[in-house]
Amino acid sequence: MLKVANLSLAYGDAQALDDVSFEVAEGEIVALVGANGAGKSSLIRAIAGMERPAAGTITYRGTEITGWPSHKVCEIGIGQVAEGRQVFPSLTVLENLELGAMLRRARAGEARNLDRVYTLFPRLAERRGQAAGTLSGGEQQMLAIGRCLMGEPELIMFDEPSLGLAPTIVQEVLKTIRQLNADGLSVVLVEQNVALSLKIAGHGYVLENGRMAMTGSGADLLNDDRVRQAYLGL
């Protein structure tokens, strides 16, 4: 479904990604694991069209999308729930959701998608008229996910969806991601909670200093000694 081949990305002199290859199959959850600064967010931003790679290609369903601007990447069906949630704080919950449906692909299904989001997150329905900035962290994360779903993506890249959330809410967010996946959505998951993310992932990739260090099934990586030492502290 998504294929990243030999991707390199640099911020000035700093090499963020170096010859990274990476693949997501239809209907799969893929976990991206790595230390801070390993290049996980850079990879997501490059796929999303928010950074311009120096080399390599990104292909989605057979179409090469390398260097496409972010709005075109969203339009083709790749959604993103960014680190820090990135809601529009002074806009209402409903306005945030409406803007998620600005994409041409999502116009026709807007009412249906709004229903779906409100069913998934009843809290958002209760707070639809409230400014997004007044929501709790967990509610903002629901809003960020809901807003992304409004764009009718086929693949969602989650960047640290549980960062800064209370443990019970972390569970809830991951449960939601699993449920969305069960409904047919493909998922790329960057998650600080490595054990949890590998547990729900079909495949995992380990990034180290901008390079792909390891790859394998979620279960294999969970049992790998290097992964256990470096990322699980076992």
């Binding site: 999303a48 928010m50 601007p69 972010s70 709005h71 075109k72 990447v73 969203c74 339009e75 993103q80 729930v81 960014a82 820090g84 990135q86 809601v87 529009f88 704080p89 002074s90 806009l91 306005e95 945030n96 409406e98 803007l99 998620g100 600005m102 994409l103 807003r147 992304c148 764009g151």
Partner: protein
Amino acid sequence: MTPTIVATVLIGGILTGCVYALMALGLSVIFGVIRVVNFAHGEMMAVAMYAAVFLFAAFGLDPLHALPLVAAGLFAFGYALQRRLVEPFVRRPEHEQFILLLAVGVILTNGALILFGPEARGIMTDYAFDSYAVGDIIIDKTKTIAAIAAIIAAAGLLGFFRFARTGKAIRACADNLIGAEVIGLDVKRLYTLTFAVGTACVGVAGTLLAMIIEVTPALGPELTLLAFVIVIVGGLGSMPGAIFGGVLIGVSEALAGLLIVPSMKSMLSFALLIVILVLRPEGLLGRRPS
């Protein structure tokens, strides 16, 4: 000085202030969203005034009928300017944006000087000297029409940002640029539209101001300064602030003309600016930076 005279002057100031408010609203919208300060704002206003004067002189077109034409023209001008010239500067340092737009302003001012010469030009409609009498208070008809048109335009603009999907998308860009990119808003296109909407405001405001005062090439830079005073007094980036500031400056100018001498009107505005900068740097309705 009777209360009647004071009331007459005050009302005149408020009416002119409504037109100022619309001009400042354009500046505020552009800055609030794109974070680029349009240093050619007043010069664009002068261009709109010249356009209205020209349409009146050449075709006898009443300024109110010229309004949509000039607004559309300035919209197109702003659209092209943002797309071709300002866009590459959006992420550049502020002083580079400043020099770029200053240059645009200088070109517009001198272009007007070449085309129209240095003398003042105005519009003399049939109703230019009409006025309404409310008791002893005299209200100028032209100013009333201009103010009502400015209020309608401003209300339309606020409605656009509040209710239209594109307006909401523009607010979203101002609110959280990363968030806007993340959900696939076409930020470049929205910036271009924003700049065009801001200059269209100037198109309307300029046409209306041309009904009230005469235009000279030198008026452009003065209006830029005036627009700045207004948005700083009202609160940079705040739309209600721009409106309130515009009316306030309109009143202060009128009062200066009454209490001191008309040529000192700017002095009072600048004094107000200094007082605001000292006592409330974020402006009267601006948000304190957190």
